[in-house]
């Protein structure tokens, strides 16, 4: 460590003076730390979201393709009246819920094994096995499911060899459910693992000492402590499913919220006001979910 400060009578260096000034004025430290991040965030991300929210109330001139800043509720009226959009929203939210439940069921035992049973080397191996898919292309992985699920694909080939009948899963909502559950699984495993891994052994021991059997310990000690991790993971699976349009267009054949938004922005007419209006649906759903998640303490486990 430096002995500068110990040299009595010597004038401190500029660095020390600045450092001391910061130390004595905590608000200065906080502002310096927070300023750039919060500033960038607010001025770029939050401002962009704000403008998006506002543009939902505008309209698009079909002739010139320019956004017209007249305030109206037309976009919302169309969405409210046309039942197709209700159906699409319901379908998307239902799918997001189904995918979340599936991933929780798949991930929890896996994360439990990884966190509390596996030895250090196995744990490293499992970690690598879970993280590697995140590094390989999302598009390539979704595309390979086509090969598996199509009529002459891998699944039917194996089923045929086992003497089972052909499945026609390709391009159905089942296919989309399977693919989404597959793709988001690592995002559920990681927070659940983190939560389970943080449970101190002493808690389990204490529970045992108090006379609880294995299952009771699990139900009343492990599960509640792991719940924030589960909810944190579910934030990912839910929000990622709500907005994705690539997987449904590659392996499915129905429209989801993301498809409608994408088509209205990049695919069709560049009708940003309409897309923004529809985007309020996933925005509202996630806002509600986040409020509930925060109450459940999930933010600590993200």
């Amino acid at each position: 460590m430096s002995v500068d400060a110990a040299r009595a009578g010597r004038r401190p260096t500029a660095r020390r003076r600045v450092s001391a000034a910061f130390w004595r004025r905590p608000w200065l430290r906080a502002t310096a730390l927070l300023g750039p991040a919060a500033g960038a965030f607010l001025f770029v991300y939050v401002a962009a979201l704000g403008v998006l929210l506002l543009s939902a109330f505008w309209a698009l001139d079909p002739f010139t393709g320019q956004i017209v800043h007249t305030w109206s509720l037309d976009n919302f009226r169309i969405l409210w009246e046309e039942h197709t959009y209700w159906r699409i929203a319901g379908r998307t939210i239902g799918l997001a819920a189904a995918v979340t439940v599936t991933d929780v069921l798949l991930a929890f035992p896996f994360a439990y094994y990884m966190a509390r049973i596996a030895g250090p080397r196995t744990r490293t191996l499992l970690f690598v096995l879970v993280l590697m898919p995140l590094w390989s292309s999302y598009l390539a992985r979704v595309y390979s499911w086509r090969l598996i699920l199509s009529k002459d694909g891998a699944l039917n080939w194996w089923l045929g060899r086992l003497g089972l009948p052909d499945q026609n899963i390709a391009y159905t909502n089942w296919a989309v459910w399977i693919v989404f559950s597959y793709i988001w699984l690592p995002f559920m495993i990681l927070p659940v693992y983190a939560a389970l891994e943080r449970i101190p052994d002493s808690f389990i021991e204490a529970s045992r000492d108090l006379g609880a059997k294995n299952w009771t310990t699990f139900k009343r000690v492990v599960l509640p402590l792991a719940l924030p991790g589960v909810i944190a993971g579910s934030i990912f699976t839910f929000s990622l499913t709500l907005g994705d349009y690539i997987a449904p267009s590659l392996v499915g054949n129905t429209q989801f919220i993301g498809n409608v938004i994408y088509r209205n922005v990049l695919g069709l007419t560049n009708n940003i006001p309409f897309a923004a209006a529809y985007a309020m649906v996933p925005l509202a759903v996630m806002a509600l979910y986040l409020v509930f998640a925060r109450r459940a303490g999930a933010f600590e486990s993200l």
Binding site: M1, S2, D4, A5, R15, V18, F22, W23, A30, L33, A37, A38, F41, V44, Y45, A48, L49, V51, L106, F110, Y112, Y113, I117, R123, T124, V128, L129, L131, M132, P133, S136, S137, Y138, L139, R141, Y143, W145, L147, D152, G153, L185, A194, I199, P200, D201, R208, N214, I235, S239, G243, D244, I246, L250, I257, G258, I261, L266, I272, P282, L302
Partner: protein, 265 residues
């Protein structure tokens, strides 16, 4: 604590999940050797042709490079801004702290398509040309959050007395950071940076809205998927990326495991 039967069952489940995660990946790797232009099952033979094609494909190389550049820039920004924000939020109480920490979760919690159209309209509004930097800004939004989450989780588990002690012993701010704070944070930073890099490298939804005529690797892959021909070239490129990333992932795992801070007490 768990019974033998439970352990065995969980072990089997783990293997099944690993298989579930890796079978599609194995197919990708396998089909890099597919001689046919169109992908179909079963594979009709083996060839190394596509690796050669991918190696000589200038577009593929440019896309790979651009993705790496964007990911590096976004991760760099994320490391700086994310750490600073995490430090501020965890160490200081201020009005609006709850609101701010809620806001910081948004880029990850909101669907990418919303971030995409919000940023895309925002950039057009300010007349910015879509370029590498608009891509980086788009990626940085969620990368910052990832680093922020990791760092704040770590900071919550370390006591502030360490910093105070360091200052008492005569270190200035920079020395404290270098010798006390940074080592404590290092593994959180590494794992955060790695995850942020991975997500940025493979990001497609936000990028589609914030990129101009440039191709990042995922956009290049999407273009090839559109054509429907020569798809095995995509597999070859993904094969290459997977092989390349095994090492950093393993290394980072080893580093974070040994930290000792993650051990249960």
């Amino acid at each position: 604590m768990e019974s033998r039967a439970t352990r065995a069952a969980l072990g089997v489940w783990t293997v099944l999940v690993v298989l579930f995660l890796w079978v599609p990946l194995a197919i990708i790797l396998l089909y890099a050797f597919n001689p046919s232009n169109i992908q179909s099952w079963p594979i009709q033979g083996f060839t190394l042709r596509w690796f050669r094609v991918a190696w000589h494909d200038q577009e593929a190389r440019d896309a790979l490079l651009l993705s790496a550049k964007a990911a590096l820039a976004a991760t760099g920004i994320a490391l700086v801004l994310g750490t600073m924000a995490a430090a501020a939020v965890s160490r200081f109480k201020f009005f609006g702290r709850e609101a701010l920490s809620f806001l910081f979760i948004l880029p990850l919690a909101l669907p990418g398509v919303i971030t995409g159209i919000a940023l895309s309209s925002f950039f057009s509004f300010w007349g910015m040309t879509f370029s590498l930097w608009t891509i980086v800004i788009g990626h940085a939004t969620f990368c910052v959050v990832i680093v922020y989450n990791n760092v704040i989780a770590r900071l919550r588990r370390t006591s502030t007395s360490l910093v105070e002690a360091s200052m008492d012993l005569g270190a200035d701010g920079w020395q404290t950071f270098r010798f006390v704070t940074f080592p404590v944070l290092s593994t959180a930073l590494i794992s955060g940076a790695l995850l942020a890099f991975a997500l940025s490298f493979d990001e497609v939804i936000v990028t589609l809205f914030t990129a101009g005529a440039q191709n990042t690797l995922p956009i290049w892959i999407l273009g090839k998927i559109r054509l429907g021909q020569q798809l095995p070239e995509v597999n070859a490129v993904v094969f290459f990326v997977i092989v390349l990333t095994v090492i950093p992932v393993v290394v980072s795992q080893r580093l974070t495991q040994e930290s000792g801070l993650l051990r249960r007490r």
